[in-house]
Protein backbone atom coordinates (compact mmCIF):
# COMPACT_ATOMS: atom_id res chain seq x y z
CA UNK A 1 0.00 0.00 0.00
CA UNK A 2 1.42 3.39 -0.93
CA UNK A 3 1.95 6.13 1.62
CA UNK A 4 -0.90 8.15 0.11
CA UNK A 5 -3.24 5.16 0.27
CA UNK A 6 -2.37 4.61 3.92
CA UNK A 7 -3.05 8.27 4.60
CA UNK A 8 -6.41 8.01 2.83
CA UNK A 9 -7.44 4.98 4.89
CA UNK A 10 -6.39 6.75 8.09
CA UNK A 11 -8.38 9.82 7.11
CA UNK A 12 -11.46 7.69 6.37
CA UNK A 13 -11.17 5.94 9.71
CA UNK A 14 -10.98 9.24 11.58
CA UNK A 15 -13.90 10.63 9.60
CA UNK A 16 -16.18 7.65 10.21
CA UNK A 17 -15.18 7.33 13.85
CA UNK A 18 -16.06 11.00 14.26
CA UNK A 19 -19.43 10.36 12.68
CA UNK A 20 -20.14 7.77 15.36
CA UNK A 21 -20.35 4.78 13.05
CA UNK A 22 -20.29 1.35 14.59
CA UNK A 23 -16.90 -0.35 14.85
CA UNK A 24 -17.84 -3.16 12.46
CA UNK A 25 -18.61 -0.61 9.80
CA UNK A 26 -15.30 1.11 10.34
CA UNK A 27 -13.43 -2.17 10.18
CA UNK A 28 -15.26 -3.07 7.01
CA UNK A 29 -13.99 0.04 5.34
CA UNK A 30 -10.49 -0.63 6.50
CA UNK A 31 -10.41 -4.13 5.05
CA UNK A 32 -12.49 -4.12 1.93
CA UNK A 33 -11.87 -2.73 -1.47
CA UNK A 34 -14.89 -1.39 -3.32
CA UNK A 35 -14.30 -3.66 -6.30
CA UNK A 36 -16.79 -6.37 -5.31
CA UNK A 37 -19.41 -4.12 -3.74
CA UNK A 38 -22.97 -4.68 -4.79
CA UNK A 39 -25.51 -1.89 -4.91
CA UNK A 40 -29.11 -2.38 -3.78
CA UNK A 41 -31.64 0.35 -4.33
CA UNK A 42 -34.39 0.55 -1.72
CA UNK A 43 -37.38 2.80 -2.18
CA UNK A 44 -39.43 3.91 0.81
CA UNK A 45 -43.00 5.12 0.66
CA UNK A 46 -45.91 5.23 3.05
CA UNK A 47 -46.02 2.46 4.37
CA UNK A 48 -43.60 0.06 2.66
CA UNK A 49 -40.09 -0.58 1.47
CA UNK A 50 -39.42 -1.89 -2.02
CA UNK A 51 -37.90 -4.40 -2.01
CA UNK A 52 -38.89 -5.56 1.44
CA UNK A 53 -37.00 -8.85 1.28
CA UNK A 54 -33.31 -8.77 0.44
CA UNK A 55 -30.75 -11.55 0.35
CA UNK A 56 -27.04 -10.78 0.84
CA UNK A 57 -23.91 -12.88 0.93
CA UNK A 58 -21.85 -12.87 4.07
CA UNK A 59 -18.67 -10.79 3.83
CA UNK A 60 -19.62 -9.27 0.49
CA UNK A 61 -19.75 -5.46 0.75
CA UNK A 62 -23.00 -3.78 -0.11
CA UNK A 63 -24.20 -0.26 -0.73
CA UNK A 64 -27.81 0.56 0.05
CA UNK A 65 -29.09 3.44 -2.02
CA UNK A 66 -32.13 4.75 -0.20
CA UNK A 67 -34.78 7.04 -1.61
CA UNK A 68 -38.27 8.06 -0.56
CA UNK A 69 -41.26 8.59 -2.81
CA UNK A 70 -43.31 10.80 -0.50
CA UNK A 71 -42.10 12.00 2.89
CA UNK A 72 -39.19 11.59 5.28
CA UNK A 73 -38.71 8.01 6.42
CA UNK A 74 -36.12 6.25 8.49
CA UNK A 75 -34.11 3.19 7.53
CA UNK A 76 -32.88 1.23 10.51
CA UNK A 77 -31.13 -2.14 10.51
CA UNK A 78 -30.49 -2.49 14.24
CA UNK A 79 -28.56 -5.77 14.16
CA UNK A 80 -25.85 -4.04 12.13
CA UNK A 81 -26.16 -0.64 13.82
CA UNK A 82 -26.98 0.85 10.46
CA UNK A 83 -29.48 3.66 10.06
CA UNK A 84 -30.23 6.78 8.04
CA UNK A 85 -32.85 9.45 7.59
CA UNK A 86 -34.18 9.34 4.04
CA UNK A 87 -35.29 12.74 2.78
CA UNK A 88 -37.38 13.42 -0.34
CA UNK A 89 -35.29 14.40 -3.33
CA UNK A 90 -32.07 12.86 -2.07
CA UNK A 91 -30.34 9.49 -2.25
CA UNK A 92 -28.86 8.25 0.99
CA UNK A 93 -26.01 5.76 0.65
CA UNK A 94 -25.12 3.28 3.37
CA UNK A 95 -22.13 1.00 2.95
CA UNK A 96 -21.53 -2.04 5.11
CA UNK A 97 -20.33 -5.61 5.08
CA UNK A 98 -22.65 -8.26 6.54
CA UNK A 99 -20.39 -10.24 8.85
CA UNK A 100 -22.99 -12.65 10.24
CA UNK A 101 -25.56 -14.94 8.69
CA UNK A 102 -29.22 -14.92 9.64
CA UNK A 103 -32.45 -13.06 9.04
CA UNK A 104 -32.59 -9.48 10.22
CA UNK A 105 -35.39 -6.93 10.36
CA UNK A 106 -35.10 -3.41 9.01
CA UNK A 107 -37.75 -0.82 9.70
CA UNK A 108 -38.82 2.76 9.32
CA UNK A 109 -38.01 4.39 12.65
CA UNK A 110 -39.55 7.80 11.93
CA UNK A 111 -43.24 7.72 12.77
CA UNK A 112 -45.01 8.25 9.46
CA UNK A 113 -48.69 7.49 9.98
CA UNK A 114 -51.43 5.00 10.64
CA UNK A 115 -49.61 1.94 9.34
CA UNK A 116 -46.10 3.02 10.29
CA UNK A 117 -45.59 -0.11 12.35
CA UNK A 118 -46.12 -2.23 9.24
CA UNK A 119 -43.24 -0.56 7.44
CA UNK A 120 -40.62 -3.24 7.84
CA UNK A 121 -38.52 -5.59 5.76
CA UNK A 122 -36.08 -8.44 6.16
CA UNK A 123 -32.51 -9.00 5.11
CA UNK A 124 -31.31 -12.57 4.85
CA UNK A 125 -27.56 -13.04 5.00
CA UNK A 126 -26.33 -16.38 3.64
CA UNK A 127 -22.93 -18.04 3.39
Amino acid sequence: MTRSAIALHAALLVMFAGAGLHQSVIRSWARETPNNEQTIRISASTFEFKPSEITLKKDVPVIFELTTQDRRHGFNLPDFHLRADVQPGTTEKLRFVPRKVGTFTFLCDIFCGDQHEEMTGTIRVVE
Partner: protein, 298 residues
Amino acid sequence: MIHQMHRRDFLKLAGIGGAVFVSGATLSAGQAQQDMSAFYFVQISDTHWGFSGPAINPDSQGTLKKAIAAVNSLEEQPDFVVFTGDLTQTTDDPAVRRTRLAEFRDIVSDLKVKTVRFMPGEHDASLDRGDAYQTFFGDMHYTFDHKGVHFIALDNVSDPTAAVGEAQLDWLRSDLEHVSSDARIVVLTHRPLFDLAPAWDWATRDGDAVIDTLLQHQNVTVLYGHIHQEHHHMTGHIAHHAAKSLMWALPEPGSAPKKVQIPWDAASPYKGLGFRNVKADTAQARYKIEELSVGNML
Protein backbone atom coordinates in the same frame (compact mmCIF):
# COMPACT_ATOMS: atom_id res chain seq x y z
CA MET B 1 -32.99 -5.40 42.76
CA ILE B 2 -36.20 -6.82 44.21
CA HIS B 3 -37.40 -6.36 47.75
CA GLN B 4 -40.45 -7.62 49.56
CA MET B 5 -42.31 -4.88 51.31
CA HIS B 6 -44.22 -5.21 54.56
CA ARG B 7 -47.93 -5.18 53.93
CA ARG B 8 -48.55 -2.70 56.71
CA ASP B 9 -46.58 -0.16 54.77
CA PHE B 10 -49.24 0.03 52.10
CA LEU B 11 -52.65 1.44 51.82
CA LYS B 12 -55.46 -1.07 51.83
CA LEU B 13 -56.86 -1.56 48.36
CA ALA B 14 -60.06 -2.95 47.00
CA GLY B 15 -59.95 -6.71 46.55
CA ILE B 16 -59.34 -6.96 42.83
CA GLY B 17 -56.55 -9.33 42.08
CA GLY B 18 -53.53 -9.33 39.86
CA ALA B 19 -49.87 -10.19 39.76
CA VAL B 20 -47.76 -8.39 42.29
CA PHE B 21 -44.25 -7.20 41.71
CA VAL B 22 -42.09 -5.34 44.11
CA SER B 23 -39.10 -3.35 43.12
CA GLY B 24 -37.02 -0.35 43.90
CA ALA B 25 -33.90 0.70 45.67
CA THR B 26 -33.30 0.71 49.39
CA LEU B 27 -31.92 3.28 51.76
CA SER B 28 -30.45 2.74 55.17
CA ALA B 29 -32.69 3.68 58.08
CA GLY B 30 -30.63 6.77 58.73
CA GLN B 31 -31.39 8.08 55.29
CA ALA B 32 -35.13 7.86 55.64
CA GLN B 33 -36.74 11.23 55.63
CA GLN B 34 -39.24 12.16 58.30
CA ASP B 35 -41.85 13.90 56.16
CA MET B 36 -42.44 11.05 53.76
CA SER B 37 -45.36 8.66 53.79
CA ALA B 38 -46.88 5.84 51.80
CA PHE B 39 -49.29 6.57 49.02
CA TYR B 40 -50.45 5.01 45.80
CA PHE B 41 -51.34 6.08 42.33
CA VAL B 42 -52.74 4.39 39.23
CA GLN B 43 -50.89 4.07 35.91
CA ILE B 44 -53.01 3.53 32.80
CA SER B 45 -51.36 3.24 29.41
CA ASP B 46 -51.98 2.79 25.72
CA THR B 47 -55.72 3.22 25.67
CA HIS B 48 -55.69 3.90 21.88
CA TRP B 49 -59.11 5.52 21.87
CA GLY B 50 -60.45 5.40 18.29
CA PHE B 51 -58.98 2.00 17.43
CA SER B 52 -61.33 -0.36 15.66
CA GLY B 53 -60.61 -4.04 15.07
CA PRO B 54 -63.14 -6.63 16.22
CA ALA B 55 -60.65 -9.48 15.91
CA ILE B 56 -58.27 -7.66 18.27
CA ASN B 57 -60.70 -6.01 20.70
CA PRO B 58 -64.43 -6.30 20.04
CA ASP B 59 -65.02 -4.04 23.04
CA SER B 60 -62.80 -1.22 21.80
CA GLN B 61 -65.50 1.30 22.75
CA GLY B 62 -65.97 -0.14 26.22
CA THR B 63 -62.65 -1.23 27.67
CA LEU B 64 -61.46 2.23 28.72
CA LYS B 65 -64.81 3.00 30.28
CA LYS B 66 -64.69 -0.26 32.24
CA ALA B 67 -61.24 0.64 33.51
CA ILE B 68 -62.42 4.08 34.60
CA ALA B 69 -65.32 2.46 36.45
CA ALA B 70 -62.91 0.02 38.07
CA VAL B 71 -60.66 2.80 39.31
CA ASN B 72 -63.71 4.63 40.65
CA SER B 73 -64.73 1.48 42.52
CA LEU B 74 -61.46 1.17 44.41
CA GLU B 75 -62.17 1.27 48.12
CA GLU B 76 -59.29 3.65 48.72
CA GLN B 77 -58.97 6.14 45.92
CA PRO B 78 -55.48 6.74 44.53
CA ASP B 79 -53.76 10.08 45.08
CA PHE B 80 -53.69 10.54 41.31
CA VAL B 81 -53.92 8.76 37.98
CA VAL B 82 -51.30 9.00 35.23
CA PHE B 83 -51.81 8.06 31.60
CA THR B 84 -48.48 7.17 29.98
CA GLY B 85 -49.24 7.82 26.35
CA ASP B 86 -51.04 6.57 23.27
CA LEU B 87 -54.25 7.96 24.65
CA THR B 88 -55.67 7.79 21.13
CA GLN B 89 -55.16 5.73 18.00
CA THR B 90 -53.18 7.64 15.41
CA THR B 91 -54.84 9.10 12.34
CA ASP B 92 -53.54 11.04 9.37
CA ASP B 93 -56.58 13.36 9.63
CA PRO B 94 -55.89 16.26 12.04
CA ALA B 95 -59.61 16.81 12.60
CA VAL B 96 -60.17 13.19 13.58
CA ARG B 97 -57.14 13.38 15.89
CA ARG B 98 -58.70 16.29 17.75
CA THR B 99 -62.05 14.53 17.93
CA ARG B 100 -60.45 11.45 19.45
CA LEU B 101 -58.46 13.50 21.96
CA ALA B 102 -61.64 15.35 22.97
CA GLU B 103 -63.60 12.12 23.36
CA PHE B 104 -60.81 10.62 25.43
CA ARG B 105 -60.70 13.69 27.68
CA ASP B 106 -64.45 13.50 28.21
CA ILE B 107 -64.38 9.79 29.08
CA VAL B 108 -61.60 10.10 31.64
CA SER B 109 -63.28 13.14 33.18
CA ASP B 110 -65.55 10.57 34.84
CA LEU B 111 -62.69 9.60 37.16
CA LYS B 112 -63.50 10.39 40.76
CA VAL B 113 -59.88 11.30 41.27
CA LYS B 114 -59.44 14.82 40.02
CA THR B 115 -55.66 14.88 39.89
CA VAL B 116 -54.94 13.25 36.54
CA ARG B 117 -51.62 13.52 34.71
CA PHE B 118 -51.30 12.96 30.98
CA MET B 119 -48.46 12.16 28.64
CA PRO B 120 -48.45 11.69 24.87
CA GLY B 121 -47.54 8.60 22.91
CA GLU B 122 -46.39 8.57 19.31
CA HIS B 123 -49.98 7.88 18.22
CA ASP B 124 -51.08 11.15 19.83
CA ALA B 125 -48.22 13.44 18.99
CA SER B 126 -45.72 12.26 16.39
CA LEU B 127 -47.53 13.42 13.27
CA ASP B 128 -48.04 17.02 14.38
CA ARG B 129 -45.25 17.27 16.98
CA GLY B 130 -47.86 17.38 19.71
CA ASP B 131 -49.77 20.38 18.47
CA ALA B 132 -53.26 18.92 19.01
CA TYR B 133 -52.23 17.06 22.17
CA GLN B 134 -51.04 20.25 23.85
CA THR B 135 -54.34 21.96 23.11
CA PHE B 136 -56.09 19.40 25.27
CA PHE B 137 -53.52 18.29 27.83
CA GLY B 138 -50.80 20.92 28.05
CA ASP B 139 -47.07 20.38 28.36
CA MET B 140 -45.52 17.18 27.11
CA HIS B 141 -42.65 17.22 29.61
CA TYR B 142 -42.92 18.52 33.13
CA THR B 143 -42.22 17.72 36.75
CA PHE B 144 -44.28 17.59 39.89
CA ASP B 145 -43.62 16.60 43.48
CA HIS B 146 -45.88 14.44 45.56
CA LYS B 147 -45.32 13.36 49.16
CA GLY B 148 -41.57 13.20 48.88
CA VAL B 149 -41.30 11.80 45.34
CA HIS B 150 -40.03 13.90 42.46
CA PHE B 151 -41.91 12.88 39.30
CA ILE B 152 -40.44 13.69 35.88
CA ALA B 153 -42.58 13.27 32.76
CA LEU B 154 -40.33 12.88 29.71
CA ASP B 155 -41.50 13.22 26.12
CA ASN B 156 -39.85 10.74 23.76
CA VAL B 157 -42.58 10.76 21.12
CA SER B 158 -43.40 14.24 19.79
CA ASP B 159 -40.17 14.12 17.80
CA PRO B 160 -41.11 11.48 15.21
CA THR B 161 -37.57 10.12 15.34
CA ALA B 162 -38.34 8.93 18.89
CA ALA B 163 -35.70 11.16 20.45
CA VAL B 164 -35.89 13.17 23.65
CA GLY B 165 -33.68 15.79 22.06
CA GLU B 166 -30.92 18.06 23.32
CA ALA B 167 -33.24 20.81 24.55
CA GLN B 168 -35.22 18.42 26.76
CA LEU B 169 -32.00 16.73 27.92
CA ASP B 170 -30.68 20.13 29.02
CA TRP B 171 -33.98 20.76 30.80
CA LEU B 172 -33.67 17.37 32.55
CA ARG B 173 -30.08 18.01 33.63
CA SER B 174 -31.04 21.43 34.93
CA ASP B 175 -33.96 19.99 36.88
CA LEU B 176 -31.82 17.28 38.44
CA GLU B 177 -29.23 19.81 39.56
CA HIS B 178 -31.82 20.97 42.05
CA VAL B 179 -32.64 17.48 43.30
CA SER B 180 -30.49 15.72 45.89
CA SER B 181 -28.60 12.63 44.78
CA ASP B 182 -30.68 10.41 47.11
CA ALA B 183 -34.04 11.93 46.19
CA ARG B 184 -36.87 9.57 45.27
CA ILE B 185 -37.38 10.02 41.56
CA VAL B 186 -40.01 8.44 39.34
CA VAL B 187 -39.67 9.02 35.61
CA LEU B 188 -42.82 8.71 33.52
CA THR B 189 -42.40 8.23 29.81
CA HIS B 190 -43.96 6.41 26.89
CA ARG B 191 -41.25 4.49 25.08
CA PRO B 192 -38.60 2.39 26.80
CA LEU B 193 -35.52 4.48 27.47
CA PHE B 194 -33.28 1.46 26.88
CA ASP B 195 -32.92 -0.70 23.77
CA LEU B 196 -35.57 -3.27 24.60
CA ALA B 197 -36.20 -4.42 21.01
CA PRO B 198 -34.94 -1.91 18.43
CA ALA B 199 -36.11 -4.09 15.53
CA TRP B 200 -39.63 -3.62 16.88
CA ASP B 201 -39.09 0.10 17.42
CA TRP B 202 -39.02 -0.44 21.18
CA ALA B 203 -36.33 2.05 22.05
CA THR B 204 -35.58 5.77 22.42
CA ARG B 205 -32.97 7.06 20.03
CA ASP B 206 -31.09 9.05 22.67
CA GLY B 207 -32.28 6.99 25.62
CA ASP B 208 -28.69 6.25 26.65
CA ALA B 209 -28.10 9.94 27.32
CA VAL B 210 -31.22 10.07 29.49
CA ILE B 211 -30.18 7.01 31.47
CA ASP B 212 -26.62 8.32 31.89
CA THR B 213 -28.11 11.49 33.38
CA LEU B 214 -30.48 9.60 35.67
CA LEU B 215 -27.74 7.24 36.87
CA GLN B 216 -26.23 10.13 38.83
CA HIS B 217 -29.12 9.71 41.25
CA GLN B 218 -29.50 6.79 43.61
CA ASN B 219 -33.25 6.17 43.65
CA VAL B 220 -34.75 6.27 40.18
CA THR B 221 -37.64 4.19 38.88
CA VAL B 222 -39.04 4.48 35.34
CA LEU B 223 -42.66 3.72 34.48
CA TYR B 224 -43.56 3.56 30.81
CA GLY B 225 -45.93 2.02 28.26
CA HIS B 226 -45.67 1.48 24.49
CA ILE B 227 -45.03 -2.28 24.55
CA HIS B 228 -48.53 -3.31 25.70
CA GLN B 229 -47.41 -5.75 28.37
CA GLU B 230 -45.92 -5.94 31.80
CA HIS B 231 -42.13 -5.92 31.62
CA HIS B 232 -39.35 -5.30 34.13
CA HIS B 233 -35.74 -4.44 33.44
CA MET B 234 -32.75 -2.96 35.22
CA THR B 235 -30.15 -0.59 33.76
CA GLY B 236 -27.60 -0.30 36.54
CA HIS B 237 -29.60 0.59 39.65
CA ILE B 238 -32.53 2.04 37.66
CA ALA B 239 -35.67 -0.12 37.46
CA HIS B 240 -37.86 0.14 34.36
CA HIS B 241 -41.44 -1.15 34.46
CA ALA B 242 -43.67 -1.31 31.38
CA ALA B 243 -47.46 -1.31 31.76
CA LYS B 244 -50.17 -3.19 29.93
CA SER B 245 -52.46 -1.62 27.36
CA LEU B 246 -56.22 -1.25 27.55
CA MET B 247 -56.73 -1.99 23.84
CA TRP B 248 -54.54 -4.91 22.72
CA ALA B 249 -51.64 -7.02 23.91
CA LEU B 250 -48.34 -7.58 22.11
CA PRO B 251 -45.92 -10.52 22.16
CA GLU B 252 -42.86 -10.67 24.40
CA PRO B 253 -39.97 -8.62 23.05
CA GLY B 254 -38.29 -10.36 20.12
CA SER B 255 -40.32 -13.54 20.57
CA ALA B 256 -41.63 -13.53 16.99
CA PRO B 257 -40.19 -12.48 13.64
CA LYS B 258 -42.77 -9.73 13.36
CA LYS B 259 -44.53 -7.67 15.99
CA VAL B 260 -48.24 -8.38 15.62
CA GLN B 261 -51.24 -7.67 17.81
CA ILE B 262 -52.40 -10.66 19.84
CA PRO B 263 -55.93 -11.56 18.71
CA TRP B 264 -58.86 -11.43 21.11
CA ASP B 265 -59.34 -14.67 22.99
CA ALA B 266 -63.08 -15.31 23.33
CA ALA B 267 -62.37 -17.95 25.97
CA SER B 268 -60.49 -15.37 28.03
CA PRO B 269 -61.87 -11.90 27.24
CA TYR B 270 -59.59 -8.93 27.96
CA LYS B 271 -56.64 -11.26 28.44
CA GLY B 272 -53.46 -9.22 28.69
CA LEU B 273 -55.29 -5.92 29.13
CA GLY B 274 -55.17 -3.95 32.34
CA PHE B 275 -53.73 -1.17 34.44
CA ARG B 276 -51.67 -1.01 37.59
CA ASN B 277 -51.57 0.41 41.06
CA VAL B 278 -48.19 1.73 42.14
CA LYS B 279 -47.75 1.95 45.86
CA ALA B 280 -44.88 4.11 47.00
CA ASP B 281 -43.09 3.74 50.30
CA THR B 282 -41.18 6.97 50.09
CA ALA B 283 -39.29 6.48 53.33
CA GLN B 284 -37.70 3.35 51.95
CA ALA B 285 -37.70 4.48 48.31
CA ARG B 286 -39.54 1.34 47.31
CA TYR B 287 -42.50 0.74 45.06
CA LYS B 288 -44.97 -2.10 44.91
CA ILE B 289 -46.64 -2.61 41.57
CA GLU B 290 -49.95 -4.42 41.47
CA GLU B 291 -51.11 -5.42 37.99
CA LEU B 292 -54.87 -5.43 37.56
CA SER B 293 -56.50 -7.30 34.71
CA VAL B 294 -59.58 -5.83 33.04
CA GLY B 295 -61.02 -9.33 32.85
CA ASN B 296 -60.90 -9.71 36.63
CA MET B 297 -62.76 -6.45 37.14
CA LEU B 298 -66.00 -7.47 35.41
